[in-house]
C-alpha cells in the first residue's frame, strides 16, 4: 500500500513538474514575443517600385472583387495628351472609344484641362486591379499610376493570397497606421 502511495505521489510530482514546466514554457514564449510586439496591426501593401503589373492582383484576391485597385498620384503625372496608361500602345484614334482604351473596364476618365494637358482620374468603383494601365504607364510614361491594396476593402488575411502569388514579391507587411506606399515625385 505504501508503495502504491509512493508511486502515486511520484507520478503526481512528475505531473506537477511537467505542468509547471509547460506553464513556464508558454509564459516564456508569450513573454518573449510580447516584448517584441507592437500595438498596431500589420496590413498588406504593394511596393509600387517592385510591382511589375502582372495582373495577378485581379485574380488571386480571396474577395470576388479584388481589394487591389489602381491609384494615381497627380503630382507625378505628365498630363500627356497621349496618355500611355489611358490609350493602347497603338490606338486607332485618339478618342475615348473602347477600341482605343487600355482599361478593360473603362475606369479611367479623361478631362481636358488646358492645351496640351489632360487630367486622368480613376473611377475606383470600376477598377478591377488588372494593372494594364500601370504596365504601360511605367513602360512609356511617368509611372504615376500604380496598384495599391485598398484597406477599406481588404480583409487583411494572415496570409495574403496575392502576396503568395506575386512574381515580383512586391507585397510586404506595413503598420496599419501608415498602410500605403505611395510613389513620390523624382524617386531616384
Amino acid at each position: 500500500m505504501a508503495e502504491r502511495n509512493d508511486d502515486v505521489t511520484r507520478r503526481r510530482l512528475l505531473r506537477d513538474g511537467l505542468w509547471g514546466a509547460c506553464l513556464a514554457g508558454v509564459g516564456g514564449v508569450v513573454g518573449f514575443a510580447a516584448q517584441k510586439s507592437r500595438k498596431t496591426e500589420w496590413v498588406w501593401q504593394i511596393d509600387p517600385y517592385k510591382c511589375i503589373a502582372c495582373g495577378n492582383c485581379a485574380t488571386y484576391c480571396v474577395l470576388e472583387e479584388s481589394a487591389v485597385k489602381c491609384m494615381h498620384v497627380h503630382a507625378i503625372c505628365g498630363y500627356c495628351r497621349i496618355c500611355f496608361g489611358f490609350f493602347t500602345p497603338e490606338p486607332y484614334a485618339l478618342t475615348e472609344g473602347a477600341e482605343n482604351q487600355t482599361c478593360p473596364t473603362g475606369a479611367i476618365n479623361r478631362k481636358f484641362i488646358e492645351d496640351p494637358y489632360y487630367e486622368y482620374m480613376i473611377d475606383e468603383s470600376l477598377c478591377n486591379g488588372c494593372g494594364k494601365c500601370v504596365k504601360t504607364c511605367n513602360a512609356f510614361g511617368n509611372g504615376s499610376l500604380f496598384l495599391q491594396v485598398q484597406h477599406d476593402r481588404c480583409v487583411n488575411c494572415n496570409q495574403c493570397a496575392i502576396a503568395a502569388a506575386c512574381p515580383a514579391q512586391a507585397f510586404t507587411r506595413v503598420p496599419a497606421d501608415n498602410p500605403y506606399i505611395l510613389k513620390t515625385v523624382d524617386h531616384a
Binding site: V29, R38, K39, E41, W42, V62, N142, N158, P167
Partner: protein
C-alpha cells in the same frame, strides 16, 4: 522629310534612358497656366483599432464563459449556444481571421524574423487558450474555436472511428504543425492560413480547390465528428499535451462513476476511456520487453528523423519563393530551359546581379539545414512517443474523458445517471426555495 511640327511630338516622346529609369519622370509634370489644382490621392483607412479591443474582449469573455459552462454549469445546451455564437462572431462576422491556429505562425515568424513584430491581439489569441487549457482543459475547442464550431454544427449522425485509424491519422496533425512552424519561421508562407479549409465559407468566397476541400471535410464531418480538429489541427495537438496536465478536467460524472456503462457510446469523438482490466501474466512480460525496446528506439527515431529532415532541406527550401526564383534564373542563364517567367522577368528588371540572388537563396536554403533537422527530429519524437504511449498500461477504474482528446462539447453529461441526479437535486432545491 520629317516636318517640324512632328518633331515637337517626337521630342515629347524622347525617352531619356538612365539607370534609374523606373521612377524618374520622362515627361516633366506640367505647370498650369489656369488655376487648376491637382487632386490629392485618396487613401481609405483600414478598420478602426477599436475592433481589435472588442475582438480581444469577446475572446476572453468567451473563453471564460466556455470554461464555466463546461466545468461548472455542465450544460450542453449552454456550450452549444456559445459555440453557435462563436461560429457567427469569430467565423462569419470576423471572417475567421485572425484565429488561434494561425497565430502559431505569427509567433514563429516573430521569433525568427527581426523585422516582424507580432501584434498583441495575435499573441493573445495564441497564448490565452494555451493557458486556459493548462488549467481547465480544452474548453477553447468546445465552444470558442470557429473552425471547431462549424464542424460540430454539421455533425448529424456520428460514426465511430477505429482506434488504429485515429492513431495514424493524427500524425498528419503533427506534420502540419511542424511544417507550419518551419515555413512560417523561414518566411516562406503561412501554410496553415493558406490551406485553411473553412475560411472560404466564412468569407463566402475562396479559391475553388480550397472550397472543394472544405466542403469535403464538412461532408465527412456530417458523419465523422470534427475531422479537422482530431486529425489535422496543428493547434489541437499542442492543446492535447497541455490538457493532459490540466489541473481541472472534464469528468463525465459530476460526482463518482458507478460503471453503469451508459456513456460508452456517448462521445462522437471517441474520447471516452473505459476502465482497464488485468492482463494475463504473459502480456505483462511482453509489454515490458516492448517498452524497453521502444525506449531504446525513441532516440533512434529522433536521430533518424533529424537526419531525414536535414537531407530534405533542398525540397523543403522549395517552399520559399526566392529559392524557386534562383533556380529558375539559373536555368535560364544557362540555357537549360526555354523562355522566361513573370518572376524571372521581374528579377531581371531590378538589374541586380544573379550572383546576389543565388547567395540569398543559398542562405535561405542553409536555414533549412537546421530547420529541416528539427522538423524531422520532432516527427521522430512524435512517432516514438506515440508508440510508447500505446505500450504503457494505465490503471483506470472509472469511465473517464480522455484529457487529451476531449473537446469539451458536453454531450456525455446527459448520459450519466449521476448527472440526472444532480439536475433533479438542483430542481428540487430551486422548487424548495422558490
Amino acid at each position: 522629310m520629317i516636318r517640324r511640327g512632328h518633331i515637337f511630338i517626337g521630342l515629347l516622346a524622347v525617352l531619356v534612358l538612365s539607370v534609374a529609369a523606373h521612377g524618374l519622370e520622362r515627361f516633366p509634370p506640367p505647370e498650369f497656366e489656369t488655376d487648376y489644382v491637382r487632386p490629392t490621392t485618396v487613401t481609405p483607412h483600414p478598420r478602426q483599432d477599436v475592433w481589435e479591443y472588442i475582438d480581444t474582449g469577446v475572446f476572453v469573455a468567451a473563453l471564460g464563459l466556455a470554461t464555466y459552462l463546461v466545468l461548472r454549469r455542465r450544460s450542453r445546451k449552454g456550450i452549444f449556444l456559445l459555440m453557435l455564437f462563436s461560429l457567427v462572431y469569430f467565423g462569419f462576422f470576423r471572417k475567421g481571421c485572425i484565429c488561434s491556429i494561425g497565430a502559431i505562425q505569427n509567433v514563429a515568424l516573430t521569433a525568427f524574423d527581426p523585422t516582424y513584430a507580432i501584434p498583441i491581439t495575435a499573441l493573445i489569441f495564441f497564448g490565452l487558450p494555451l493557458v486556459f487549457t493548462l488549467f481547465f482543459g480544452r474548453a477553447f475547442c468546445g465552444a470558442v474555436c470557429p473552425l471547431g464550431a462549424i464542424q460540430d454544427a454539421v455533425l448529424i449522425s456520428p460514426v465511430k472511428v477505429p482506434r488504429w485509424l485515429e492513431s495514424v491519422l493524427r500524425i498528419l496533425a503533427y506534420l502540419y504543425l511542424g511544417a507550419g512552424v518551419l515555413f512560417a519561421a523561414t518566411g516562406c508562407m503561412f501554410i496553415i492560413c493558406r490551406y485553411d479549409p473553412f475560411v472560404g465559407f466564412f468569407r463566402l468566397g475562396a479559391n475553388w480547390n480550397l472550397l472543394v476541400f472544405g466542403a469535403c471535410l464538412l461532408l465527412i464531418g456530417l458523419f465523422v465528428g470534427r475531422p479537422y480538429c482530431r486529425f489535422l489541427c496543428p493547434y489541437g495537438v499542442i492543446l492535447r499535451q497541455l490538457s493532459r496536465l490540466s489541473k481541472w478536467r472534464v469528468t463525465i460524472t459530476p460526482t463518482e462513476c458507478i460503471q453503469c456503462r451508459l456513456c460508452e457510446d456517448a462521445c462522437p469523438f471517441g474520447a471516452i476511456l473505459k476502465p482497464t482490466e488485468q492482463w494475463p501474466a504473459k502480456e505483462y512480460k511482453i509489454a515490458k520487453l516492448r517498452l524497453a525496446f521502444l525506449l531504446v528506439l525513441l532516440p533512434v527515431l529522433i536521430g533518424a528523423g533529424g537526419w531525414a529532415g536535414y537531407q530534405l532541406r533542398g525540397w523543403l527550401a522549395q517552399a520559399h519563393p526566392q529559392v524557386r526564383l534562383a533556380q529558375r534564373v539559373y536555368l535560364e542563364q544557362n540555357g537549360q530551359v526555354e523562355g522566361t517567367t513573370d518572376a524571372s522577368d521581374a528579377f531581371r528588371a531590378t538589374g541586380r546581379p544573379s550572383t546576389e540572388l543565388y547567395a540569398e537563396a543559398s542562405a535561405i536554403r542553409d536555414r533549412f539545414k537546421v530547420g529541416g533537422a528539427l522538423f524531422g527530429a520532432f516527427i521522430g519524437l512524435v512517432i516514438g512517443g506515440k508508440l510508447l504511449g500505446l505500450s504503457v498500461k494505465r490503471r483506470r477504474t472509472d469511465y473517464e474523458a480522455d484529457p487529451a482528446s476531449c473537446l469539451a462539447c458536453g454531450r456525455c453529461y446527459s448520459y450519466c445517471p449521476k448527472e440526472h441526479e444532480r439536475l433533479k437535486l438542483k430542481k428540487e432545491t430551486v422548487v424548495a426555495h422558490g
